[in-house]
């Protein structure tokens, strides 16, 4: 499944949190979206999913389509949909079936009353009719694929560690074999070792199933592991796009250089053992006026 975003604009109140953004994600492609907190990247993800806050207004187009590379995307559903023009029911049908997402902090998104297995089977139960046994079987298999101990399947989120929770969230996202996975800062709430494991897991799973992935982060060091091509955002606008490796090597724009420098410094000083936000605040200032995005991140 491919996505074409053209001239996307999102307003909250009187501020444009996303302004004139155009980007493309090809089928089976892993694309990065990088920028400081509050630069509007989460809003793009939310617009793609139909999860914009109620007070946000969006214009432009977000078209889901199949550009031929998909092997089994030929069933027709979910294709040709414009996320900003279609109804809520259509988007709900798309979410969790063809397009799924991994949020930043599993502690505040995984329902505290669902066990790991119940959580993972939720999208299945929404979209597919199976017997109870089949749900459980598929759920357990998915939990195993993301490397979660089967013993933990009946645990509630607060009984799991941060990394385990994020594995449950990833399992929930891939259980229906979606064609596009939107990972919205999936590693930010984790420590350095868990970060690497989660990124490798995501990349492995996506490549295995041939799905596309949009990987959103503020951290270039993570981005290099996860994507080949990326877009750089600042204050709601797209400032640069290109190969991740070439951007890392020779950033064109000053702002991108800041982000790259920050990532390198973090990597040199003990692989992100410091809090990810600590250095960022100095290096990439002046985006704080867009509190709207921050408040929801």
């Amino acid at each position: 499944m491919s996505v074409d975003i053209s001239r996307l604009r999102v307003d909250i109140g009187r501020t444009a949190v996303v302004d004139d953004v155009t980007m493309h994600i090809g089928a089976g492609e892993r694309v990065g979206l990088v920028g400081a907190s509050g630069s509007g990247k989460s809003m793009i993800a939310r617009a793609m999913l139909g999860l914009l806050p109620l007070d946000a207004r969006a214009s432009g187009h977000i078209r889901y389509g199949d550009d031929g590379a998909g092997d089994d995307g030929s069933d027709g559903s979910g294709l040709g949909v414009d996320a900003l023009a279609c109804g809520e029911e259509t988007m709900a049908d798309l979410r969790g079936r063809y397009v799924s997402t991994v949020f930043q902090d599993p502690a505040t998104t995984l329902s505290p009353v669902l066990t790991a297995l119940q959580q993972v089977t939720l999208p299945l139960r929404r979209h597919y009719r199976m017997t109870r046994g089949e749900y459980a079987e598929r759920g357990m298999a998915t939990l195993q694929r993301v490397g979660l101990d089967p013993m933990l399947a009946d645990h509630l989120p607060h009984q799991l560690s941060g990394g385990q929770r994020q594995r449950v969230a990833i399992a929930t996202a891939i259980v229906t074999s979606p064609r596009l996975l939107i990972a919205d800062e999936p590693t930010t709430a984790l420590d350095a070792i868990a970060q690497r494991e989660i990124v490798d897991l995501l990349v492995g799973l996506v490549d295995e199933s041939g799905a596309a992935m949009l990987f959103i982060t503020h951290d270039f060091s993570v981005l290099a592991r996860a994507t080949r091509r990326c877009y750089v955002m600042r204050s709601g606008r797209m400032v640069e796009a290109g190969d991740t490796s070439s951007l890392l090597g020779a950033p064109q724009c000053k702002y991108t250089r800041h982000l790259v420098d920050a990532a390198e410094r973090l990597t040199l000083h003990g692989a992100g053992a410091t809090a990810p936000g600590a250095d960022r605040a100095d290096d990439v200032g002046n985006t704080r006026n867009e509190g709207a995005d921050d408040a929801r991140n």
Partner: protein, 323 residues
Amino acid sequence: MARFIMRRVALLVVAVAAMSGIVFVMLRILPGDVASAMAGVHASPGRVGALRRQFGLDQPLATQYVDWMTGLMCGDFGLSVTTGRSVSALVGARASVTLPLIAIGLAVALAIGLPLGCAAALSRSPRRRGVYQAIAIVGGSVPALWAGALFMILLGRGVGLIDLFPSQGFGGEGWAAPRQALASLMLPALTVGVIVSAGVMRYTRSALDDLAPSGYIDMAMACGMTRREAMLSTGLRLSAPRLVSVLGLTLAQMITGVMVVENLFALPGLGTGLVVDVGNRDLVAVQGELFMLTVVFLVIGFLVDIMHRVLDPRLGDDREERR
């Protein structure tokens, strides 16, 4: 969980003991001699003395209290001063009217308040939200007495515009004639329910409003639900602990309304009985009934706390912070 329940049971026992003491002491220490109050204004000193001996009021307070408590332990609340009947039997008979009234009233309140609260939380236009808010405020401002009177005028048999339900009394046979008994509870329960529903509506709305921008709703939607579905399943489930807590308090505060409504519709329940006994200065009966009612509310508080725990698994495990 087990530890929490043990602690909570201990607190309940202490609270019941404390309340028995408070009820007992309040009724005796407050100014005015109880015996002369019971005997009435024009009683002779001899009559007052006899009453005092009859109810053991000449004994020291501690002895009286111990006597009363030992009685309570065996389910013996003493004998009514005015009727001479056993207070335990009296309380039992009256509770068989009041408890069903509360239960049906609560069901009505939930049936009205929950959907309205959900609708208010789901509506997006400010104008519609304003209308729902106005409904909640007005609904919570109507005196129970007036609401009951209006229902009577509207639906009461013999009085109302539409002859639908009996508006006075409980029927001679009580629960022996269940249809009749239930019919005579309908108007009172409707009144109580409508009054309480405004609170239920408000709590439901504010609980859902607080959850609406949360990641839990986002997650449910990301799994394929519409916002509406997510709010009605995940949202309601996650606000359940909070709703149960408030409902417990609402129930405690419902009792004034219940007492008024019982009087208005002439139902022989605990509320009517208590008012009559207070009027008669029937110390033994008042003491027993007040104790029963406070126990009922302490037990409700206990159950609400336990349910809160059960509904919110995050509290259940190891931390023992709340209460």
